[in-house]
Amino acid sequence: MMLSFEKLIQETTQTLAPTNPAITETLVRDVLTDAGIDDSLRDTAPTPQGRLIVHGVTIIGQKVNGDGVLEPFQYQRKLGTGLWAWVGSNGTGKSTILNCILWAITGSDSGIPKRIRPWLHDILVEFSVGEAQFTSHIIRANDGVTGGIYHGFVGLNMIDLGTAQPFTLFATRDEMREAIDLFFMQQLGITTLRWTAHSGEKDDPDLHAHSTTWRTYAHAIHIDDDSYDHLIIDPMKGYGRQDRKILEMMLGIEQSRTVAEIQVQADFAKEAYGRARSRVSGKRSNVTDQIAALEQESRQVQQALATVEVPQTPVESDNSFVALRERRAATLAEQNQLIEEIAALDAQQAGLERNMLEVEREKVALREQGEVEYLVNSLVVTRCPHCESAVNDQQRMATEKQQQTCHVCSQPIQRARIQGDIRTILRERDQDLASLRAVLKRVQQDIVDRENRLDVGQDEAARLGRELETNVKQAREGFSTTYANLLVRKGQIDGQLEQLRRSLAEMDAEQNEVETAARWHLILQTAAEIADESVFAVYENAFAQLGDLVVQLATQFGVPDLEKVIIDEKRYVKLYQGGMQIGHNDLARSERVKFKVAFHLALMLLQVRNGLGRHPDFLIIDTPGTAEIDEADLVAMTKDLARIHTEYGGVVQIIVATARPEALQNLPPELTATAMNGAFF
């Protein structure tokens, strides 16, 4: 059964209430609502899965040949569904081609060696997502990266002439990453999942929330020698929670976003709890020590007073006079402190209200912008703004294309936003608003608490003032100097003690705040675990199917004695080999490579065969285990890839590059490019 907000509240309460009587259903509801979990659960809705097929790649550039001379090249290959391969020895450029495809569809060029990057000028990749066709174009120059994604399959000529219709354009490397991320997340129906981490920056102790992007998920569609096994989560290696997110997103687990959001809130609550605790514990021990020392001194003064012989009558009144004065001073000091705190909180409240207003204004601006941006952008320049004479349309576009600047204002041409961008920003602003409202609520509560305490303190100070007025008339006669000094000291000690005990009481109140923070953390962490278990229970069958398929494929690829693969409730991948339970890390190195390929293939095939998940049915396998896999196993692996090609070649696309010529035995010859004696470009 799918998780609902009410069910989450009930189960969290049932889990915590027996051991924590202070945790009630109302408290759990308040905490989860304040953390925005109700909204998060409401927003969970399945989105369509898109199938990614690369239809062609063109790479244009100039390379340095053996004589150190620059030589222009143009590499082009048409692709489609099924198994496509490049076979060639080291240095022929097969990995570069694959990494260029990856660059165009993920925005990451980390796989291309720095030595090769200056060779590349234009990369054009034609691809389709579902029925829609697109072309990704990247222009690399020494001063940066530009390009865009265009509707349909368009050639460089159309882009150069300005007749291609852009879906999104980018003018810098950062814009490229952002634009490609957004494009593919929308087209493939993939959503962002959040997680937390401490910043690596100096002097930044805060916990920060991060979001997964398409580039993170792209680890599921790409295997190469250097990539670690992102999706095969091994308890011994301790991979982070973002790897789970890739796996769950590829398996189409809709409620991963909610679980991730609760966990993020739980992490922040834990951080807040830790800070509150450290703030209180240090001060409290310090005050306790001071009280102990003063009590000791008080006993000594009391003994000294008892040994001095004096008339007894005025002692009591004088003592009360000193004590009253000290208490009044302490009360007034406390009031001053409260007034300062209220002023600071008022300023904080005003600041929060200002921030909320700014966010509201930005939301209005975004909505208005979203409604008219496309309309205004679709206007075409028809005449000069100064002399109003007509402008030649073709000439204008050619100039803008060449110079990448607007001919009206000479500003760099930047990509136009799309509705999806604006919706994403609006959602973020809603989250900002929810957090600001929660903080504002807490600040307002703090102000009310302090104002109440201030009222009580003012009454107390007035009462003490009246008592002092009556006591001040009492005479202090008949005391010896020693006796008087002892009395004064005793009064001081009593006053200090009272002040410190009051501080201790305040610290106890702060301790209550710490306990509240602890309860927040406990509730959110428990809710996160319950939500996670609930999601696992719903999708257990999917994990089991994945495990079975991995066993089948890995055995075919030559992993010996593999009996079963279980993905447990922590998403740890447990292997059973030769009657023993082992981790992925315990496999031999060559077996690990085969297992990795099997795992990725299984994730893809699960989508194709059973319609499970959101894998784009696209996989790039770059030189898998050239050094580790023996000839027989490589032949077996390529044989299975060929079998997948025969069975599912119409719906999936697998792109393989290998340096091993024996792979040619099984790869479909019409879909295999070879460069055994030369280079691809």
Partner: protein, 230 residues
């Protein structure tokens, strides 16, 4: 082909440039003088750039507009009932959901002036044949600088209002400003005398104005404002 819009101007970044341009067009449409000729078709005309800047200021700053109108009608509140659109209802609409503060449009990097430098926006619209900017160049007191919303501009505004429901707000504000401009143009925006005694221009630029509008509304009409249903 979709032309790309520069996101920056010389005066600074303007991530919502299209929104500004669309607002200007709506203002020109509702605050301009309608002219319908056989030769040019239906157009709108505003006689000076300053006047357009003033229209724009009052539309961008609903809080200022409400305070100024309340001050203007302060001495004769009964005359509000004769106004069309009804000023009292318009102010209640601005108070609804704090719209007078939330719908305030701040200019990027325009701290030196309350009025927007329209050169870039007008060039942009002129190049797209939505309006014409016609200075007379005459060295006389009869100098004019007509900003004309051309027929394609009129059609474009109608398209905006049809496809962008949030711009209904600007339509209502523009109509209100146009109807009361003879009162508003008496106020010198360098002094903003309508803000006194509780506010001054510097404070009004940063603080939410809703509490002040409510107080002044109550002082003017003798009863607290009831937010209108928009």
């Amino acid at each position: 082909m979709t032309s790309s819009i520069p996101k920056t101007q010389e005066s600074g970044p303007s991530p919502y440039f299209e929104r500004h341009v669309a607002r200007l067009l709506v203002i020109l449409y509702y605050c301009g003088q309608p002219i319908n000729t056989l030769l040019e078709g239906e157009t709108r005309q505003i006689d000076s750039l300053t006047r357009l800047q003033l229209f724009d200021f009052w539309v961008r700053e609903p809080g200022h507009l409400a305070l100024a109108l309340l001050r203007s009608f302060g001495s004769a509140p009964e005359r509000v009932e004769e106004t069309n659109p009804n000023v009292r209802e318009a102010i209640q609409r601005m108070l609804k959901d704090n719209q007078a503060d939330v719908r305030r449009v701040k200019l990027p990097n325009a701290t030196h002036s309350h009025l927007e430098d329209l050169d870039f926006s007008l060039s942009y619209l002129t190049a797209r044949h939505l309006l014409s900017d016609r200075p007379s160049f005459a060295r006389s007191r009869q100098f004019t600088h007509q900003v004309v919303l051309e027929t394609p501009g009129v059609e474009f505004v109608q398209k905006i209002l049809k496809s962008a429901p949030t711009f209904e707000w600007y339509r209502l504000q523009s109509e209100l400003v146009a109807a009361n401009f003879n009162r508003l143009e008496h106020y010198d925006l360098a002094m903003m005398s309508y803000l006194a005694p509780d506010l001054n221009p510097a404070i009004a630029a940063t603080l939410p104005l809703i509490p002040y509008i409510r107080t002044r509304y109550e002082q003017t009409f003798g009863d607290p404002a009831h937010d209108a249903v928009v």
